[in-house]
C-alpha cells in the first residue's frame, strides 16, 4: 500500500497558499476539519476561496478564518449564525456565492467522478438560474451546473488508515466524502489513525486513492451548535 501519513496539520497544509480555492467538509460545525482550520489560521494566508456548506460561527470553524480576513469568497448554501460574516458581507469585504445545497454536493461529486457538469432542477426559475444553460429533459427544466475545481479538499473523518482509507461517523459524514473525491489534493484529518488491515474493506467510505495526506488530529472540540434534548422520563 501507499503510505499517505503526514505528521500534523501544519505539514498537511504547508503548500496551501494565498489565493487558492479550498473545499472544507462539514455541515454546520459537525464534521469540520478543526485541526486544519486552526493551522490555516496560524499560517495566516489570505484571499482564499472556500467551498463549504456553511461558514462556521464567530469563534469556531471557518468563522476563525473570517475573523482574520483570510477569506475572499465563500461558496456555500447557508451562511447564517455569524455576525462577523454578516459585517464583512455588508461592507463588501467578502464575496458570497450562494448555491443550493444539493447542487453544492453534486458539483463536488461531479469533480470526483470526472463529470464536467451535471443537470439539476434546483434553482430553475429563480435568480440562481441567471446566466446558466437551461435544458429540458422529458418535459422538465434543468440547470447545467459545473463541477467544482478546487486546489485542496480538506476533510475530517472518524477513522482512517495509513493508506488514506476513511470511515466517517454518523452525520459527521455529510459533505466530507464528496469533497474528499473532489480536491486536486485531498487532506484528511482523522480522530483515529490506524494501520492498514484494521479497517474492513467493505466499510470504507472513501477509498485511499482519493486521499493524498492523512494525519491524526488532536484536541477535537466538536462543538454543538444547537443542543436540543428531552428530559429523561
Amino acid at each position: 500500500m501507499i503510505n499517505k501519513v503526514v505528521a500534523n496539520a501544519d505539514e498537511a497544509i504547508q503548500d496551501i497558499s494565498s489565493g487558492m480555492t479550498l473545499m472544507l467538509g462539514g455541515f454546520g460545525l459537525c464534521g469540520i476539519p478543526e485541526n486544519c482550520i486552526n493551522a490555516l489560521v496560524n499560517k495566516g494566508i489570505d484571499q482564499l476561496t472556500c467551498i463549504s456548506n456553511n461558514a462556521g460561527v464567530d469563534d469556531f470553524g471557518i468563522g476563525l478564518m473570517l475573523r482574520k480576513r483570510q477569506v475572499k469568497k465563500m461558496i456555500s448554501s447557508y451562511v447564517g449564525e455569524n455576525a462577523e460574516f454578516e459585517r464583512q458581507l455588508l461592507s463588501g469585504e467578502l464575496e458570497v456565492e450562494l448555491v443550493p445545497q444539493g447542487t453544492l454536493a453534486t458539483r463536488c461529486m461531479a469533480a470526483g467522478y470526472g463529470m464536467p457538469a451535471i443537470f439539476t432542477p434546483a434553482g430553475v426559475g429563480t435568480e440562481v438560474a441567471q446566466g446558466k444553460e437551461i435544458r429540458n429533459f422529458n418535459g422538465k427544466d434543468y440547470l447545467m451546473e459545473m463541477a467544482f475545481d478546487a486546489d485542496f479538499a480538506i476533510v475530517k473523518a472518524w477513522k482512517g488508515d495509513t493508506a488514506g482509507n476513511l470511515i466517517f461517523r454518523s452525520t459527521a459524514r455529510n459533505f466530507n466524502p464528496v469533497m474528499a473525491m473532489a480536491g486536486k489534493i485531498t487532506i484528511a484529518e482523522v480522530e483515529h489513525l490506524v494501520e492498514v488491515g484494521e479497517l474492513d474493506p467493505d466499510q470504507i467510505h472513501t477509498p485511499g486513492i482519493y486521499v493524498h495526506r492523512i494525519f491524526q488530529g488532536k484536541d477535537y472540540e466538536k462543538r454543538i451548535e444547537q443542543r436540543t434534548v428531552r428530559p429523561k422520563e
Binding site: 459537525c30 443550493p100 444539493g102 439539476t120
Partner: protein, 218 residues
C-alpha cells in the same frame, strides 16, 4: 384559528403510511409529534440521515449526530447514514414522498418564496431549492398573513423565488388550500371558527370557493 401546533396537527393528517418525509425548520418540525397511530413513516434529514429519531436525553447528545437544523437528534432502529450527494440524489429522484416547509409567500400557480428578502442579510437557501424543485408533493406550513398584515397568498410572489409551480397544498392558521391545476388557491377547509369571508379577506391571490367549505377536523 389555529396555533402553530394546530397547523402541525392538521398537516400530520396528510401523511400516509409508508411515506418518506422531509420536514423543514419551524412548524414543519412539529408535525413529527402528531403522526397518527399505526402510520409508519421515515423522516429524511438532508444532511444525510434517514430515520430521524427524537431529541436525545439530556447528557446523551452526540455532536456527530445532528439534523439539517443543526439540532442534536437520535437515530432509530433501521436508520441509515449517507453523504450529502446521495441525500440530494434521493430527493431529486423523488424517493422522498412529501416535503413540508415554511414560506414567506406562495403564488396562485404554486411558486414559493422563502429564502431571501432584498435589502436584508441573505443567509442562503440551504436545501430548500433542491427540495422544492424535486419533491412530488409539497405542503407549505405558514401564517396566512405577514406581520404587516399583508396576505402571503398572492397572485404572484413579490420576493425572489425559491421554486416555481411546485407547491401542492398550503395549511395556515385560517385554512387548508390547494393549488388548482389551472392556477388559484382552492379553499378546501376552514380552521375552526373561521369564516370563508375572513379567509377571502386574508387572501390576495385568486381564491377558488366551490360549494360548502367544511371546517377542519383535527
Amino acid at each position: 384559528m389555529l396555533d402553530k401546533t394546530g397547523i402541525a396537527k392538521r398537516i400530520a393528517k396528510e401523511i400516509k403510511d409508508g411515506y418518506y418525509v422531509n420536514l423543514g425548520i419551524g412548524i414543519p418540525t412539529l408535525v413529527a409529534n402528531y403522526i397518527p397511530e399505526g402510520i409508519n413513516i421515515v423522516l429524511q434529514s438532508e444532511n444525510g440521515l434517514l430515520g430521524m429519531g427524537p431529541f436525545p436525553f439530556e447528557g446523551e447528545e452526540d455532536p456527530d449526530l445532528i439534523n439539517a437544523g443543526k439540532q442534536t437528534i437520535t437515530t432509530l432502529p433501521g436508520s441509515s447514514i449517507f453523504d450529502s450527494a446521495m441525500s440530494f440524489g434521493m430527493i431529486r429522484s423523488q424517493k422522498v414522498d412529501l416535503t413540508i416547509l415554511g414560506a414567506m409567500e406562495v403564488s396562485e400557480n404554486g411558486d414559493i418564496a422563502n429564502w431571501k428578502i432584498p435589502g436584508k442579510m441573505v443567509k442562503g437557501m440551504g436545501g430548500a431549492m433542491d427540495l422544492v424543485a424535486s419533491a412530488k408533493n409539497i405542503i407549505v406550513a405558514m401564517q396566512h398573513v405577514n406581520k404587516a398584515g399583508e396576505s402571503k397568498l398572492l397572485s404572484e410572489c413579490s420576493l425572489p423565488l425559491t421554486g416555481v409551480k411546485c407547491v401542492k397544498k398550503i395549511v395556515t392558521e385560517l385554512a387548508v388550500l390547494e393549488i388548482a391545476s389551472g392556477g388559484g388557491f382552492r379553499l378546501l377547509e376552514r380552521a375552526p371558527g373561521v369564516s370563508v369571508e375572513e379567509i377571502r379577506k386574508a387572501t390576495t391571490g385568486k381564491l377558488i370557493i366551490e360549494g360548502e367549505i367544511p371546517e377542519m377536523q383535527i
